[in-house]
Point group: C2
Chain length 240, copies 2
């Protein structure tokens, strides 16, 4: 089916005949930036009800409304895969969130490690990047971005049934095969300086962790995130 | 072995006792930005002679020199893999070149397709990005960035023994297994609008092409480049 020119994430329920009121920002985007007019179509999704073709029934400077016509794609959720990563410089942190959404992570957890410089993140800004990536990549799901947590705290509360694939550049011999363990998983990407000795030791000893090598060159964190998610999606996820 | 604080790509031959004169830019980086002084060590590589520890023997505002002491890593070249990609917006094109260098492509070819907006590239600037990525990722090789070429011309002159892995979002059923064909390869990433009907047809019919799917979501070109290079490196390259 031909895609509408604009895909928009909304918070409202979607269904046949359902009216969706636009926020001021969304109205500016649709009518100011994308130049849509009353009668034009747009695709809407809310992370729960699939994708809907909707018709613009009201277009104003500060608001507007659409009316849902037909579902154009069923809801499709990614596998139960978290991406945990140590935030880096602003632009690259934005990229990691964008890429995690494209690659089909269902939750994104910024993690503070011993060698992480970032002491805080702008969770709302990162969440907006995840929304934008979902709008762009044609998905119907938006991963949730969590608040920054300390790696130690995260591991203390870790659910034992969730496996962790962790990528450590000191483990070139680790290979990239994952055990055939179904169920929930997480990919953990370290900071630019790598994990500390203590962190590496703790990760290696935990029964739910699996070290994976990402080749002989040192990858930047955003590159490593995409490479690791590719390996997981190919072996365990929704790519086959 | 402890890494020197600075890794620098140079054009000079490297060998025991070899003196390397610095360009003005390199001198500014080493002495102005990184605050190195006479007697400090730096790592040098030139893409041919491996990595060398060198000692600063002259430090000035507009130049300087180092003397090679010992080889700290042998020369290590990536597999014979080209990355061909359709240039997109400036920042993302820079990212693709950076990521190709990190991921171990040996040559980077910007390609103009029917749906590519870019009509020219700054080859020198992209080459500088490849150098910077090699300095950063600990490699001893710098991939060469070619001038922009038309996809049709590239395929007309294509060496028949080089396989092409091409990533097409319309081929979700293609899977991601590659034929067990050794020898030279290339990864081809399309533009944001995808390949044209005609291009897709030509690619599908060529005996040296293999379509691969990158999952159910639409990936941006920079994400797709990393994902595709990961798949190739894992199956055919130097990651195992």
């Amino acid at each position: 089916m031909e895609r509408a020119k604009v895909r928009l994430f909304v918070e409202d329920p979607l269904g046949s005949g359902q009216r969706v009121n636009l926020t001021r920002d969304a109205a500016h985007y649709l009518f100011g930036v994308m130049r849509l007019k009353e009668g034009d179509a747009a695709s809407l999704f809310n992370g729960e009800d699939g994708e809907w073709r909707a018709r613009i029934v009201e277009a104003g400077k500060r608001g507007g409304a659409l009316s849902c016509e037909a579902q154009t794609a069923p809801q499709s959720n990614p596998p139960d895969l978290w991406l945990c990563f140590a935030p880096i410089k602003k632009a690259r942190t934005d990229f990691i969130v964008e890429k995690a959404a494209e690659m089909g992570a269902c939750r994104i957890i910024p993690v503070q490690t011993e060698f992480t410089n970032a002491e805080r993140i702008r969770r709302d800004r990162l969440q907006a990047h995840a929304v934008e990536a979902a709008e762009q990549c044609g998905g119907t799901f938006v991963p949730e971005v969590s608040e920054l947590q300390k790696l130690g705290d995260l591991l203390n509360a870790w659910p034992a049934e969730r496996q962790i694939m962790f990528c450590d550049e000191t483990l070139a011999e680790a290979g990239s095969a994952l055990p055939d363990a179904g169920g929930p998983w997480a990919v953990l990407i370290g900071p630019e300086g790598g994990f500390s000795e203590r962190e590496r030791d703790r990760l290696s000893k935990a029964p739910f962790t699996h070290a994976v090598s990402l080749g002989p060159r040192i990858l930047r964190a955003d590159t490593a995130a995409v490479a690791a998610l590719t390996i997981w999606q190919q072996q365990m996820g929704d790519w086959e």
